[in-house]
Amino acid sequence: MSNKLTYAQVNRDIMRPLFTPTMAWHGLMALALLGLAIGGVCWGIQLVWGLGVAGYHPPVFWGVYITTFVFWVGIGHAGTLISAILFLTRSRWRTGIYRAAEAMTIFAVMTAALFPAIHVGRAWQAYWLFPYPNQRQLWQNFKSPLMWDVFAVSTYFTVSTVFFFIGLVPDIAAVRDNTRGYTQKLYAAMALGWHGTDRQWRHYMAAYGFFAALATPLVLSVHSVVSWDFAMADTPGWHSTLFPPYFVAGAIFSGCAMVITLMLPLQRVFKLDAYIHIWHFEHLAKLCMFTGGILTYSYGCEYFIAWYSDNPYEWGTFVDRVVGKYWWVFGTMVLCNCTIPLLWWFKRVRTSFAGLFIVSIVINIGMWFERYNIIASSLAHSFDPAAWVYYTPTYIEMGILVGSFAWFFTWFLLFVKIMPSVAIAEIKETLRPPLKHDEEAAAK
């Protein structure tokens, strides 16, 4: 970090977006609320009429909703990865971006968590998925991957949120001390009376380390558990031990791409160049290139295993993905996830705003299609040829997909407006602390 920055300057810079309105923010917020309205209306229609308004038909019982669920859970990986794993490995480039990445994680998981409720046939009974004592003496099936999912996602959400909030407390305190009136009272309540006493910092740092240590296996487990939704099923195209690492790599791939997509404009609009540098993005891009490589390898591996197993069902599904009616999904996936990201091997591309922004968006699109490819094409081409179908999403499903993005962006926009989107205390930590000794040396 630049040594020119002072602690007070950091406070000023990072809190500036909270107090200065921008047209861009209001425009985006309006757009997000519009999308939210679209999604809400679509879901309302679905609740009233039933899931028939979506494109399901036997044997395709999962479609856009689960695709989007997995997509958002995947997005939700980068934040905790960056904040927890990079914290534990003491990577310096984490500091500038981790707060926003973590916020992205929380909101992505919040978005993902909507989808089980949207997806189930009887959303009004979805609370049955949680174990609670009841007069029916009935419990859940803890052998079901979906139950694991419920546990994994809710645990991940809870732990990430706590981790996020704990990280925020000193910064909220800083914001509190820069506000007046009722806003100050609100921030004061959220800051939990944080004033940076020695006792607070002492246990805080210990607990933060534990949170990071606890969140780390979660990052790796959540998408593994999500992948078991598929891998534990017997559907050809799903039933593969490759899935957990493949999904985790994909999740980090898409998550990092999403971080790039979100933080490039953030850096520009809020003029945070001093804290978020292009080399932050370059690091993220390199992480993407690495996980993208794993992903490409996994794609190949899937085909090899399907061929080598000589299992006609498995191989049939994989061939159908390429030559069947889902060829365009497969093509989009390979193009967006394997081919276009190769551009980042050129330093010029991965250090330019346009190069980073466009490719990261392409990756996000590609990763959505990857999940769609896995879910729709496998189900549509299952064991019994008599049941083969072609699934097409409906407008309702696409509306809810749009709504999910809007929901995510609404939260994210609120976040950047309410909370410091770069970790103030940690940025200060990376600075050389103000020393009398330095000043004296400078004076000489």
Binding site: P133, N134, Q135, Q137, T183, L186, L414
Partner: protein
């Protein structure tokens, strides 16, 4: 304006975080069945049939019961009193509810059954009997209100329970003492299961096979249709 927006957004954030569970507290059905079945089984049904979780774990205060609230008296078209018929006159339940040992529904007696006796009973100064007579004369159906109303997805056979040797009172309460018929049992799933898991009649009826029968009785498809 800006502050207002910010305040609204902050409030949304706070309320959104506060999610409460609605507790539909109904009046507790006090006693759990104390009768614990004797472990009379010699032949072990190897997957093991024990109520591993104590019933106390299931807090009846937290739960919804099926049907009408327990102590709400339901107004019937004719103020029929079981007490008079059963206790005073000593009639058997089966006389009127003859279907209980033969079929799924116990049923309410046809008006003709009532009139079998009431044709001979003096109706002067007895307005309820006058009502009965009016229904009979007009050939109209008496619109009795259901006191015990199971959901439509439940298969409940009165015959099975009567044949197994259960007393009507075990579920319907001391009907012989009721002037206005009331529901005393919650009729919810946990209540059904309490007996299906450990009612003594199972041991009496099935002897060495009681374990198996208890397992069968706890199968969802025993009651759900």
């Amino acid at each position: 304006m800006r502050q207002l927006t910010r305040a609204t957004l902050a409030i949304v954030l706070f309320t959104g975080a506060a999610v409460g569970m609605a507790g539909f507290a109904t009046r507790a059905n006090a006693e759990d069945d104390e009768a614990s079945a004797e472990e009379a089984s010699e032949e072990t049904f190897t997957i093991g049939m024990k109520n591993l979780l104590p019933p106390e774990l299931f807090d009846r205060n937290l739960v919804v019961t099926v049907g009408q609230p327990l102590d709400e008296a339901i107004e019937q078209p004719i103020a029929f009193t079981h007490e008079r018929h059963v206790k005073t006159l000593g009639m058997d339940c089966n006389y009127c509810h003859s279907n209980a040992r033969k079929g799924v529904h116990a049923g309410v007696p046809a008006t003709s059954v009532c009139m079998g006796c009431h044709a001979l009973v003096d109706t002067t100064d007895r307005p309820e009997l006058v009502k009965l007579k009016e229904y009979w004369d007009k050939g109209e159906v008496i619109p009795w209100k259901k006191v015990h109303d199971l959901p439509d997805y439940v298969y409940f056979s009165h015959k099975r329970h009567v044949v197994a040797g259960l007393d009507c009172q075990e579920c319907h309460g001391e009907v012989q003492n009721m002037t206005v018929n009331e529901r005393v049992a919650p009729l919810n799933m946990g209540w059904c299961l309490d007996c299906h898991a450990q009612h003594e009649s199972i041991t009496e009826n099935y002897g060495t096979k009681a374990e198996l029968r208890r397992a069968e009785l706890k199968d969802c498809w025993t009651c759900h249709k």
